[in-house]
């Protein structure tokens, strides 16, 4: 794909993303019905869950890019893996911030060690560790490879963490998605939020990859000059 097409694609993406976000905000705050017991507070759920789903997508992308890097050793996969890890951590930061805000009035506690909450926290820790490893390896080829290996380990670990907590510490009411689904009136808001967050992820990944490839290009030019 040439540069101009890429730039146009980014513009289109930017436009669609903007519209989707406005739509999601409208659906979540105006269109969706007021929840009977939790009131307006429940509306945070749309963003909270959408962020979690999108964050998981990002870590999935990180895993896939890591596997691709090990197999192909093409630096573009490393750039994608880095972008995915960073954005994933940001999305899960949103999850971890919105979670307690909602939980305190509803459950009367800021935090419970429920599987979902704990998994979110552990995922955050795992991928912060991933970013730390990257930070402390100077050689880019080596950094890419070691990061890919750790990303694979982290992603395989995630379901094990999930089931471990679930089997031993299951004290938590099953979330709405599993217990019979959400109220049909809330569905548009929910899916709009998920869709716009996923679009945001795509946009952020593209921008972050572009930034990283510019940084690498800079390094290359500096190498040639010096």
């Amino acid at each position: 794909m040439n540069k101009r097409t890429t730039a146009r694609l980014d513009m289109v993406l930017w436009g669609v993303l903007g519209l989707a976000m406005i739509a999601a905000l409208y659906l979540a705050f105006v269109d969706a019905p007021r929840e009977r017991t939790m009131g307006d507070l429940q509306r945070i759920f749309y963003f909270h869950v959408a962020a979690a789903i999108t964050g998981m997508t990002a870590f999935g992308v990180n895993f896939a890019a890591g596997v691709a890097y090990v197999a192909r050793r093409d630096r573009k996969w490393d750039r994608l893996a880095l972008a995915a890890a960073e954005t994933g951590v940001v999305f899960f930061a949103i999850v971890l911030i919105t979670g307690p805000i909602w939980a305190k009035p509803v459950w009367m506690v800021w935090w419970t060690w429920s599987p979902r909450l704990t998994l979110s926290l552990v995922l955050c820790l795992l991928y912060i560790a991933y970013l730390l490893i990257r930070r402390y390896i100077e050689d880019p080829d080596r950094r890419a490879m070691i990061a890919a290996v750790f990303g694979i380990v982290a992603f395989v670990d995630a379901p094990l963490v999930w089931f471990s907590i679930r089997w031993w510490r299951d004290i938590h009411p099953a979330p709405m998605l599993e217990s019979g689904g959400i109220d049909p009136a809330m569905r548009p808001a929910f899916w709009a939020c998920v869709a716009s967050f996923e679009l945001l992820l795509v946009y952020l990944l593209r921008r972050r990859c572009a930034l990283e490839s510019m940084r690498e290009e800079m390094e290359r030019l500096e190498r040639l000059a010096g």
Partner: protein, 240 residues
Amino acid sequence: MIEVRGLAKYYGRQGALHGLDLAIAPGDFIALFGRNGAGKSTFLRILAGLARPSAGSCRIAPAPGGRDSAARTRGRIGYLSHHTSLYPDLTALENLRFSARMMGVRGDDGFLAGRIGAVGLAGREREPVRAYSRGMQQRLAIARAFLHDPDLLLLDEPFTGLDQAGADFLERYLLEARAAGRTCVMALHDAETGYRLANRLVVIDRGKAALDARPAALPLDAFRARYAAILSAPAGGGAR
């Protein structure tokens, strides 16, 4: 035997090699020169299979009749780096015993003691390596690296830390290897030693081969002058 094409290795902003081309034939005994940071060590590491090139390729032909596998290729290489790769808490004999097992060399303690004796450390094989001086450790490192009689020798400034007797031993060993038709690439700084030992002289500058000549065709003084000219050219610079 070795085909090096457009070999490049970058470490972020720094580059060690920028498109090095070199064809190494069996029996080539190459003395590799170049200023500090010219990429000699990096080149040897890539040849040894310890580092992956950022671009370009480096192919070592499989042994006649042998299959091509990374582990098999490693078994034909003797690599002596800056590091001795010796465990300081093990004795000389234990170090060699471990290496022999790993290399698949069959040999009892008598054989290993013989190798230790050959580098002038007879009678000290049961001392822990920690008690050795730097020069003695380098001698033992030589015995270790070439324990399996490899047909490709890669040496990174092998004379470092050796006293006269040690240097004499290494020189004899290398001349014998040369006579036996083995292939060798060694990084050096001393022009005279390299000229004496090698049958091919290569100077790396700015990540490329700046000079590639046979001692037979280039008198020592002429080689010295050209080597000095390459070294005195300003380092770096954008003129590439």
